[in-house]
C-alpha cells in the first residue's frame, strides 16, 4: 500500500481492462517519473475524450459532433449501409479503402446466453434508417462467429421482406495463408463463396 494519491492512481489504473495490480503499479510509477507536461497531456486527453466524444445520432459510430465524419461526408454512397458490431470495426473497414458507403454500428451482437437480445442493440434505429433513407443494400459485416452469425441471420430475416438487398461479407482463406492449414469450416466457406475469374 502506498500514500494516498499514489494508491488512488494505482487503484484507478487497475480498473482498466487488461490491467492487473502489477501492471497498474508499473504504469503509475512510470507516470510519476515522467515529465509533468506528459502526464498533463494524458490527463487532458482523457478529460477531452469524455467531454467531447459521443455517439453519432444516425449511425452510432463515435463522433465529436451530432453526426460522425462519415455520415456528414456527401461523397459517401447513401444507398449502401454496412452493419458492424462495434465502432472499431468501422476503422478496420475504412483501412481497406474499398468501401464508400455508410455504416450502422449495432453496439454488440445477439448473444442469448449472455442475455443480449435485439432490444439491447441499435436494431430499431437501423429499421428507422431503412424507412427514412434511400438504402438499397445492407451489408452485414458482423463477426464470423456464433454471435455474429446469429445477428446476421436475425437481421436478414427482419430486413429482407422490406425489399432491401441484404448481403453478408465473404469469409474464406487469409491472404498469404496455406491451403492445407485452413480449417474445414473456413475452406468450405471459401468454396461456397468462390467467384469467376475474368479472362
Amino acid at each position: 500500500m502506498y500514500e494516498g494519491a499514489v494508491q488512488d492512481l494505482i487503484d484507478e489504473l487497475g480498473r482498466l481492462p487488461g490491467v492487473g495490480p502489477k501492471s497498474a503499479q508499473r504504469i503509475a510509477f512510470h507516470l510519476m517519473q515522467a515529465d509533468t507536461a506528459d502526464a498533463s497531456r494524458l490527463a487532458e486527453a482523457i478529460t477531452q475524450v469524455k467531454a467531447t466524444v459521443r455517439f453519432c445520432q444516425r449511425c452510432w459510430n463515435i463522433s465529436e459532433a451530432e453526426e460522425c465524419r462519415i455520415c456528414r461526408d456527401p461523397r459517401r454512397d447513401e444507398a449502401v449501409v454496412c452493419v458492424v458490431e462495434e465502432a472499431r470495426d468501422v476503422v478496420a473497414i475504412e483501412r481497406t479503402r474499398e468501401y464508400r458507403g455508410r455504416y450502422h454500428v449495432l453496439g454488440g451482437a445477439i448473444s442469448p446466453i449472455d442475455g443480449v437480445g435485439p432490444d439491447e442493440l441499435h436494431v430499431k434505429e437501423l429499421l428507422g434508417r431503412l424507412d427514412d433513407e434511400p438504402v438499397e443494400e445492407l451489408i452485414l459485416a458482423t463477426n464470423p462467429n456464433v454471435e455474429g452469425e446469429a445477428t446476421a441471420s436475425y437481421l436478414s430475416r427482419l430486413v429482407t421482406p422490406l425489399g432491401v438487398r441484404v448481403t453478408r461479407l465473404a469469409s474464406g482463406l487469409p491472404v498469404g495463408g496455406d491451403l492445407d492449414y485452413a480449417d474445414e469450416v473456413t475452406l468450405g466457406r471459401a468454396f461456397l463463396g468462390r467467384r469467376e475469374l475474368g479472362v
Binding site: 448473444s111 442469448p112 441471420s153 430475416r157 469450416v185
Partner: protein, 245 residues
C-alpha cells in the same frame, strides 16, 4: 507436460487477452473442460474456425496449472447450419447453456455428451420448429442429471398412471389422492406431450407433436422450462430468445 486426447463439443468461449480464447467444452471422457486456445481470434488461425460453439471436435490438449491448453483440434462435425440460422442458433445456445451449467469438471458424463450431440444433430438438419427439440433436450438433460419428469406413475405414491395432475415441484404427474386440493387437471395431450419430450432417444416424432397439437406443445414446453429452472435453481437466460410458432 502431460498431453491427452479427447472428443468434445464446444459449449461457449470467452475472449482472453489480445488473440486467445478460453473455451468451455463438454468432453466424452472428462466431463467439462475449460481450456485456453491460443491465437484463435487472429484471422488465419490454424484452428480458430474449428472451435466455434456447437462444433464437435477431436482435441489434443496439455494439462496446465489452472487451465489446459489446446494444441490441436480436428473437426468431427461443425454443425455450421446451426450457427447460420437465428432460430437454430438460439435453440442450440439454450442446450449448451444447460450443459455448461450442469456438467462438472473431471466427471465423465457420456449420456449428457451423447444427448448434446443428438440435440445439435437434430438442429443441424434445419427443422421447421427448432423449439420442440430444445424442450425435449431440457427434460432429457434434467433426467440424466437426476431430475426425471415422470409421467408414467404418480411422482409421490408411485401408483401407475396415467394421471391427470402435473406438478413441477413433485417432478411429474400426481394421482388424485396426492394432488393438493384445488389443483386443476391437465389435458391428457399435455401429459402425453411431457412424456414424449422426456423420452430418451425419441426425436423423430417431435416435429409432428409440435405441428399437430400446438396448444399441448406450448403447455408442455412451459412445463419443461419451469421444471428445469425449478430443480436446477437457475434461470435459463437464452430461453426467451428461441423463436416459437
Amino acid at each position: 507436460m502431460a498431453t491427452y486426447r479427447e472428443q468434445g463439443i464446444v459449449l461457449r468461449s470467452y475472449k482472453l487477452g489480445e488473440t486467445d480464447r478460453i473455451v468451455h467444452l463438454h468432453t466424452q471422457g472428462r466431463g467439462k473442460v475449460r481450456a485456453v486456445a491460443k491465437g484463435v481470434r487472429r484471422p488465419g488461425s490454424r484452428f480458430g474456425g474449428r472451435l466455434e460453439a456447437y462444433s464437435h471436435v477431436d482435441l489434443q490438449l496439455y494439462e496446465g496449472r489452472n487451465l489446459d491448453v489446446i494444441n490441436q483440434a480436428e473437426l468431427l462435425a461443425s454443425h455450421a447450419a446451426v450457427r447460420a440460422d437465428f432460430a437454430t442458433s438460439a435453440g442450440a445456445s439454450v442446450m449448451v447453456e444447460l450443459v455448461d451449467l450442469v456438467a462438472q469438471e473431471g466427471e465423465r458424463d457420456n449420456a449428457l455428451f451423447l444427448l448434446l450431440r443428438a440435440g445439435l444433430q437434430a438442429l443441424d438438419a434445419g427443422p421447421a420448429d427448432p423449439a420442440v427439440f430444445v424442450d425435449a433436450f431440457l427434460l432429457r438433460a434434467a433426467s440424466i442429471v437426476g431430475f426425471h419428469a415422470d409421467t408414467a406413475a404418480c411422482a409421490v405414491c408411485r401408483r401407475p398412471g396415467p394421471h391427470a395432475f402435473l406438478s413441477v415441484k413433485a417432478g411429474g404427474t400426481l394421482c388424485s389422492d396426492c394432488a393438493p386440493p384445488g389443483t386443476r387437471a391437465v389435458d391428457p395431450a399435455v401429459i402425453a406431450g411431457v412424456g414424449l419430450l422426456a423420452t430418451p432417444g425419441e426425436w423423430a416424432s417431435l416435429p409432428a407433436f409440435a405441428r399437430d397439437d400446438a396448444l399441448a406443445h406450448r403447455t408442455a414446453a412451459s412445463y419443461a422450462r419451469a421444471f428445469v429452472e425449478h430443480h436446477l435453481d437457475r434461470r435459463l437466460r437464452g430461453y426467451p430468445a428461441v423463436p416459437r410458432g
